[in-house]
Amino acid sequence: MAKLTIEDLKRIKEKTAKKISVRDGTATAKITVHMGTCGIAAGAREVMGVLMEELTNSGRDDIRVVNSGCIGMCSSEPNVTVEIEGGEPIVYQLINSNKMRQIFKRHVLQGEIQTDFALAKI
């Protein structure tokens, strides 16, 4: 019976140790990936994967990524909501890996709302 071992975890810890600062500061940005059935079928899981990668590369520890349920806009899934501290939440629609990278780099890191992909302010 194979298991995720302590050695596995230690190896992961070694690989990531340099990059981790203490992740207990307050979040200044929150990214919500909507994980309803339609979102999942349309690629929300892949979008989460891209976010983990971009977040790792950014080295930022003040950005939170969470999942939430469906927001009822099935035809525009995957939907991702970006909320920067002090700003209104922006819902992005029909997100794929490339759009997610662009939104992360431009909106989350640099504060420029990507109006081309934005569905609405909620």
Binding site: R23, R45, G49
Partner: protein
Amino acid sequence: MREISLHILDVAENGITAGASCIQIVVEEARAENVLKIVIRDNGRGISSEKIDRITDPFVTTRTTRRVGLGLSLLEAAARRCDGEAKIESEPGAGTEVTAVFRYNHIDRAPIGDMAGSITTLIAGNPDVDFIYDHSVDDRHFGMDTREIRKELEDSFLADPAVIYHLAQTIRKHLNRLDQGQMNSEMGEEGNGKIDDRRS
């Protein structure tokens, strides 16, 4: 759904919506018996008995955002298409268990797909929920339990996106070995089987 692992992610999200603090996912590839079985068990608020009979009817949903519920009806349709079935059992206040069985080699069966991606997506997106994952291929087995990881390492460990990224890679590596039937000494140590408390 293109992958069984996406159905699993979707059913697990139901448990999260139902307020579960722990979700157990079991994938059993009984290739020798030509059966694929998946079980998703949660300790959320459960489903009333009046409702459970109609649950795979797409018009049953508690969501207010859209009038049709899709996830369970899609899973049931996928299982039936592959000479299998889906079963939903629940105890209100205690939790829910969803089981689906497929004929393994059925031409319409979707590939299992990226289980590592589904599991790490759940872990990353739901930091307050624990996940237990057991995957077997015939008599080979891989398992992990975020409760054990949290016990071993500081709580912030699983909140680090870099950890999630590497965790996904590590799980993929284990699953490849499982798939190809290699037993690896380093990773093949004997587990204690204590999370093997399945009801069915």
